[in-house]
């Protein structure tokens, strides 16, 4: 029988999560073999930057998340452009579409998300795209070059929809966003801030239709899109459609296996799945959310990296707990700066909201029993991290909560014990007195 190569650390997915894991493994184990596999054919790139590529603001060689010699420097063998088709949990082996088999000691599933494409009639027409990969951005770019006069319908007014809209407007493509709910960015912004974005999007020249869905994509006899029909029967002519409804965990490898899945792959505090030795992180994983105090999908880049880092440390034998993550977003679409984290609206009356709002500045905190469970800041987002970390560390802010939404919020808004901890001030070195502890 042909012998299968066995790798100490096998990573599937070459993005935030996979790289976080690699960097952590190498902090602990400098020589164990690492192989990373991705069906995307490039070295790691920053996924959020595909909008800058499409906008024409950045060239493809400037999307890289790590230096191009990253893999060599870290002694990582790479398999890019090949898909893992099957996991064999009995023999700790994966199968690739190339026919290759690889065995593992520790496996990380950092397979990310896949765009949701609802079964809308006509979705196979030419000129219909999704927008989550570098290849998507290049395909849309090519299409615009061929059809510079085509205007676009973007289905979905979430982060990806607004992001692609900004890029398209930069390319002088006219855009109409169709959002099913009553406001854009409704998952990550509250009413106030989403109306600010709504205004900014419209001021930039795009149209937004809320409260409707696309029921049909209309293609001509050449199979090319020429418009969409909405659920109310109205027709919007267009030369391209971007489906940006969202992403869902890419679970194809684990479905039908014993690895426990809820909405995503369920992991424990070490980012380990229900099968020992197999870890998961990032958009595919359902990991601990410190706001909701349960496992949730939190598909954002920082959490993918940190989850990957935690997985990597544990895979290499350094026991480490995932500090938890929650949905965090920082955006500057159309020049409007907004950050949000955790809950964006109070779920019920047992929660308090404190808000300051003057001129362009809007700061809102959501609290329950003295703990911050959500924040939405706009206009002045400086030092927002001070507050985010109070939320993450579950520090009771009841006695000083009002000071957290003032203009001059700082470390001195916090109790002495907390700011001293944050500054983690001087140790005793060369006779210099430790001034703090």
């Amino acid at each position: 029988m042909e012998k299968t190569e066995r790798i100490k650390y096998l990573i599937i997915g070459n993005s935030a999560g996979g790289i976080g894991a690699i960097e952590a493994i190498r902090e602990v184990d400098t020589s164990g073999t690492i192989t990373i596999v991705s069906d995307e054919p490039y070295p790691v790139y920053s996924r959020p930057l595909i909008s800058d590529l499409l906008a024409g603001k950045r060239t493809i060689d400037k999307l890289n998340y790590r230096p191009f010699d990253f893999y060599e420097q870290n002694r990582i063998s790479t398999i890019f452009g090949n898909r893992v088709t099957k996991l064999d949990l009995t023999n700790n082996t994966v199968f690739l579409d190339s026919g290759q088999k690889i065995g593992w000691d520790k496996l990380l599933l950092a397979t990310g998300g896949t765009p949701i494409v609802p079964p809308i009639e006509g979705r196979e027409a030419g000129g219909v795209f999704t927008f989550t990969t570098l290849a998507d951005a290049r395909a849309i770019d090519d299409y615009i070059r061929q059809k510079p006069d085509a205007n676009a319908v973007v289905i979905g007014g979430g982060l990806i929809g607004v992001s692609v809209t900004e890029s398209l407007l930069n390319r002088q493509v006219k855009v109409t966003i169709i959002e099913m709910k009553d406001r854009i960015l409704n998952v990550i912004l509250d009413e106030k801030t989403s109306s600010m974005e709504d205004k900014a999007v419209r001021d930039s020249g795009a149209e937004i239709i809320t409260g409707h869905t696309v029921s049909k994509i209309n293609g001509n006899t050449h199979g090319e899109v020429y418009g969409v029909t909405l659920d109310n029967g109205s027709v919007i002519p267009c030369g391209m459609v971007i489906i940006a409804i969202g992403v869902r965990p890419r679970l194809e490898l684990v479905s039908g296996t014993d690895i426990r899945v809820n909405r995503g792959i369920v992991v424990d505090k070490h980012m380990e799945t229900s099968i020992p030795g197999i870890y998961a992180c990032g958009d595919v994983a359902e990991a601990y959310d410190f706001v909701y105090r349960e496992n949730r999908l939190t598909p954002v880049w920082p959490n993918a990296y940190l989850g990957g880092r935690t997985a990597g440390l544990n895979m290499a034998g350094k026991e480490t707990d995932y500090p938890g993550g929650t949905n965090i977003n920082s955006m500057k679409y159309f020049g409007v700066y907004i950050v949000s984290a955790g809950m964006i609206v109070a779920p019920d009356t047992t929660y308090d909201e404190i808000i300051t709002n003057h001129e362009d500045i809007y700061k809102k905190l959501i609290l329950k029993d003295g703990l911050i469970t959500g924040m939405v800041f706009s206009g002045d987002v400086d030092r927002a991290g001070i507050i985010y970390n109070l939320m993450r560390d579950r520090i009771n802010v009841e006695s000083f909560k009002q000071s957290l939404v003032t203009d001059d919020v700082g470390l001195l808004s916090l109790p002495e014990k907390v700011w001293r901890n944050r500054l983690a001030t001087a140790p005793v070195v060369n006779g210099i007195e430790n001034s703090i502890n």
């Binding site: 880049w301 940190l306 920082s330 003295g370 703990l371 991290g385 001070i386 901890n421 500054l423």
Partner: protein, 160 residues
Amino acid sequence: MRKIYIKEEVCIGCGLCEVYCQLQHASVHDLIKAFKKRGPRPLARARVEAKGNLSFSVRCRNCDEPQCVYACLTGAITRDTESGMITVDEEKCIGCCTCMLVCPLGAIKQDKEHKKMIKCDFCQGEETPACVANCPNEALFCVEYEGAEKKVTAEIPSPV
């Protein structure tokens, strides 16, 4: 690796650390020119906080577990392996402020004119950083480390 520490009991909140930080990062090294003549004022990477008699100067601590590095969307923030310093690659930075949202000190901020993040850079190669050199009360001092810093154990109030 190097760190700058504060002695808040002798800080009088005069703000000179901010001023000299601004000057250090200005295009001209003359106070009047830098502050009055050449376009927008340079930005300080240190911040003085004051409340009553208490005051101290805050800047990036080059954390052992740098949340900004972990969160950065583009790979613009990294730790320089030689100096241990957390640095921002201005060419890569897109000014999305994700790093700002996770920094526990509020020590990284945006240069709004250039839409890039800025933070303490130890005055890039200066023997003594400008803030430390110019504090009239020696409320700031530098410590050089061989390896990782000794962990400080001050407790965070426990959740209810």
